[in-house]
């Protein structure tokens, strides 16, 4: 088939990202031709600020160099501005500086012409030394001016203006920022935060003139006649200026489109009008993305929403036709090294909004969260922006926050406690500080990778640096570093609609729904039905799918061992040297002399190097060879402790009223009972329980997925505690009086988690997501539902066979044991 022709006008961030997305989906569908007015490849425009500040160089900010175009068979006309679109003959006409003309025909056309700086009609604006701030040429002109001149004036104290002012100041100029409004960044910050920001910029030497209206730019005298020399204000004041940077806003660049008769709006919202498929409303062959676009009445000026547009647009260009762009919520961050400011949403307040404010002037911290009907609608943070991404996510998800209101101000729940010294201010950390304690990755390494490799998302940073890719406790810090490096270009993805992995666009919730609604029973069927993009998934999605299938359709869906992680496949924990550890089940932490003797004999017979008492009240045999596993299991004659599974682990118990002088309930018996009941329960993540015989709580029930505490009149139940990466105290669920009720309520809670939790989400994260109220409604208040949940859990675990016994039985089918045997060559 003959390839269709796709022409892109505008070789900038949104347009080229769209092409990249398209190449991923349909690499051979089009012959692509790109026109760019600038004489470069595609570069990371947002990093012009660090270039100006002398923190980076131009080659470092290239995203797609000329080789990239060649390698992908794309014809690039750099330094050619398209001057006409002929919609009848379906071609574009471009001119070069030297007047030569090139034409290109299209079957589909993509417009991504970006914005132009808005220069207000002030007398003198055409003088030399007066610039906007948009591209490499502007940046180079500013750097050159800084080398020769002293006085710079920046008109406009928005994000762009302040970043320009900061850069010029670092290059040794004397910089004054002039602003029309009463405080700086008034579109992003409230006055309190703006005052703090202004004070810290002033401390670095920046000067401010607020509430000033510029009247004219004054030309110098003598041979430098046409160059600006001063700025004069309406009130008569005049200050010297050898360089004037006008950062008074941007305007969508739609002139070319409009001249071709494409609707570009009128009145307030101007820009190329597009539909949710990013097609222009006038001509369905013509698409548009980026800052030149007006979508549902909104024009965006930050990268993140443009990338979202690009993704949807590429999908339609690839003829897949799935997905609509429905607009974006944006957040911003100022990229001035060492200063942390964050803002998102609406913070202007109103009659039905409330504020939570923390203001520590001395400590340089200001936080304001604006709430409306129990939902966050805006936030402004200065000094400590650690939780910016979290607030932003809560805002995007429109999550009801009334339950967490009292600790909202004090932080994000998935920022871990362990492993990085409780450090939570990314900007204050030196480059040498370790961010990821698992993989030993420092802040400097992360920043460097983000800048040099042009990374924009957490997933990309994880892949390239390995930071946050193991235990994940430093995720919050890495997000902050990303946000402060790329500014508003970073957009936290909400866990609700984040795709499971690169093999699909569907989220965990979508996948689970499809499996339930369409009764999918095998991984190949599920992948076919949901149009998986890869032939058999990857190590991220297959285990998730397998869990969703077997938990939704117990005894019907097919469990696939090859889609389980090695530990669950080999029923033991793999060690760094490829040997395994074996943890036999020891119900409630109680053992017998006979079991201990067998454990000792096995350790001797198989020369097992380490025998250790675990934190879960049982005994671990570490360093067992793969080939020995079935023999070890057989000689132990004990059931698997599932210390390897996303499943029930242990039920920890204390001594309880059988022996202890304070005991009020028989905690050992209760624990053994629960552990037996849950044997064979697979879950989104591991599940741990504990039962204590009195409120002294020697079994640490306060940090378990389900914690049970005996009191004189019965039992108190706690849920969603965690003792690991994020230490979190369990929340009180309810009080019950009998042991049968303990079983019923615990099982019902765990079944709810099994049905609603996302794969690899522990109960603490699950309950944070859905809210304790939701759990109480279904488990405590609704007796019928509780019984139904309890019934479903018992059904799921019924007839579960101990995997060790199965695999070491003499008549075990060969395939079960084969994986442990080594072949010879």
């Amino acid at each position: 088939m003959k390839k269709q022709k796709l022409v892109l006008v505008g070789n900038g961030m949104a347009g080229v990202r769209t092409i990249e997305e398209l190449l991923k989906l349909a690499p051979d569908l089009y012959d692509v031709t790109v026109f760019g007015a600038e004489p470069h490849g595609n570069y990371n425009r947002i990093l012009l600020s660090p270039v100006l500040a002398g923190e980076m160089s131009l080659p470092e900010i290239m995203l797609n160099d000329l080789d990239w175009y060649r390698d992908n068979g794309i014809t690039l006309h750099a330094g050619r501005k398209v001057t006409k679109i002929d919609r009848v003959r379906r071609k574009v006409i471009a001119e070069a500086e030297d007047g030569s003309v090139i034409e290109a025909e299209y079957d589909r056309l993509l417009l991504a012409t970006g914005s132009v700086p808005f220069i207000p009609p002030i007398p003198g604006k055409e003088l030399s030394g007066v610039l906007g701030y948009r591209d490499i040429a502007d940046t180079e002109a500013m750097i050159a001016a800084a080398g020769r001149h002293k006085h710079a004036v920046v008109i406009g104290a928005g994000l762009l203006g302040l970043e320009a002012a900061n850069g010029l100041m670092l290059r040794g100029m004397d910089v004054t920022v002039v602003h029309l409004a009463d405080w700086i960044m008034e579109r992003q910050l409230d006055k309190a935060a703006a005052d703090m920001l202004q004070a810290s910029l002033e401390a670095r030497g920046m000067k401010f003139l607020l509430a000033r209206q510029t009247e004219a730019l004054v030309a110098g005298e003598g041979e430098e006649g046409a160059r600006v020399c001063a700025v004069r204000f309406k009130d008569g004041m005049q200050i010297p200026a050898d360089l004037v940077v006008v950062a008074a806003g941007i305007r969508p660049n739609y002139a070319l489109a409009e001249s071709a008769g494409i609707y570009c709006g009128s009145g307030r919202v101007r820009g190329i009008h597009v539909s949710d498929t990013l097609q222009t409303v006038t001509d369905p062959r013509i698409y548009a993305v980026g800052e030149c676009v007006a979508h549902r009445g909104t024009v965006y000026g930050l990268v993140a929403p443009l990338f979202e547009q690009g993704k949807v647009c590429a999908n339609h260009l690839a003829n897949f036709g799935i997905g609509r762009y429905q607009g974006s919520v944006t957040s911003t961050k100022l990229k001035v090294t060492g200063i942390d400011v964050f803002s998102a949403g609406d913070f202007s307040g109103g009659p039905d909004t409330e504020d939570i404010v923390l203001h520590d002037r001395q400590g340089g911290v200001y936080k304001r969260i604006v709430i409306k009907h129990n939902r966050i609608v805006g936030s402004v943070l200065y000094g400590d922006t650690a939780d910016g991404a979290w607030y932003f996510q809560l805002m995007k998800d429109q999550q009801d926050i009334h339950e967490i209101r009292d600790h909202l101000m004090f932080g994000q729940n998935h920022l871990g406690d362990a492993g990085h010294k409780g450090e939570n201010k990314a900007a204050a950390m030196p480059d040498t500080a370790e961010v990821c304690g698992c993989n030993g990755v420092c802040k400097g390494t992360i920043v460097k990778a983000i800048k040099e490799k042009g990374l924009f998302s957490l997933d990309e940073v994880k892949k390239h640096t390995k930071a946050a890719s193991s235990c994940g406790s430093c995720t919050g810090l890495v997000e902050q570093i990303l946000a402060s490096t790329v500014g508003g270009a970073y957009q936290a993805v909400s866990a609700h609609d984040k795709p499971v992995c690169a093999c699909t666009d569907l989220s965990h919730g979508d996948v689970r729904k499809a499996i339930r609604q369409h009764k999918l029973l095998t991984i190949p069927d599920a992948m076919a039905f949901m149009e998986w993009k890869t032939p058999n998934g990857c190590a991220t999605c297959r285990p998730a799918l397998n869990y969703y299938l077997i938990s939704t359709w117990p005894h019907e869906a097919q469990d696939d061992p090859q889609s389980r992680f090695i530990n669950e496949r080999s029923h033991a924990n793999i060690q760094k040297d490829g040997t395994y550890s074996v943890v036999p089940r020891m119900l409630g932490g109680i053992t017998t002399p006979d079991e201990l003797r067998r454990i000792a004999d096995v350790a001797d017979k198989y020369a097992i190097p380490t025998v250790k008492v675990t934190g879960g009240q049982r005994i671990d045999l570490l360093g067992v060879k793969r080939e020995d596993l079935p023999k070890v299991w057989k000689d132990l004659g004990m059931a698997s402790g599932h210390a390897y599974g996303k499943s029930i682990r242990t039920v920890k118990t204390c001594v309880g009223s059988e022996h202890c002088r304070f005991g009020t309930q028989r905690s050992m018996a209760m624990g053994v009972d629960l552990e037996k009941m849950l044997f064979g329960m697979w879950s989104p993540h591991k599940v741990k329980l504990a039962v204590s015989g009195c409120p002294r709580n020697c079994a640490e029930s306060g940090i378990k997925d389900v914690g049970v505490i005996g009191v004189d009149s019965g039992w108190e139940l706690y849920v969603a505690g965690n003792g690991g990466i994020k230490t979190e105290v369990a929340q009180f669920l309810c009080k019950v009086s009998t042991s049968e009720e303990v079983r019923e309520y615990s099982a019902a809670f765990l079944q709810l988690y099994r049905e609603e939790g996302f794969y690899l989400e522990r109960t603490v994260h699950y309950v944070h997501r859905v809210g304790l109220e939701h759990v109480k409604k279904r488990v405590v208040e609704d007796a019928e539902n509780r019984k139904a949940l309890y019934g479903r859990l018992l059904f799921a675990v019924q007839d579960y066979k101990d995997p060790w016994a199965e695999r070491c039985a003499d008549d075990a089918a060969a395939p079960l044991r084969r994986q442990f045997e080594t072949l010879e060559a």
């Binding site: 890719s469 760094k576 072949l823 010879e824």
Partner: protein
Amino acid sequence: MMMTELDKLTAAVDAADWKTICALQDIPVLGARVVHSVHGDIAVFRNAEDEVFALQDRCAHKAGPLSQGIVHGRQVTCPLHGWKFELASGEAVAPDIGCTRAFDVTVADGQVRLKV
């Protein structure tokens, strides 16, 4: 990998080095078996298309046993820290950098033959 004419030719020449190790069915689909050899442990993989591949059973990162990883497409993910490798070449998938040795392996008459 299917046997090409060239493979067959080379096979004939080096017949002494080709060793039959097991039947294709003895390797689980999307799984692997470990083979002891003079070159150390070798992981022999089988994918969903019944292609077989052989790699040194040592991850280029920290020597994890690739045989115990998850197989998908023509790649395997190491069980220890999740690096991915191309089964055909042993090369790590970008952005990771590294390589593990690949061995020649073929299937003939349902038997897996490894060149060691």
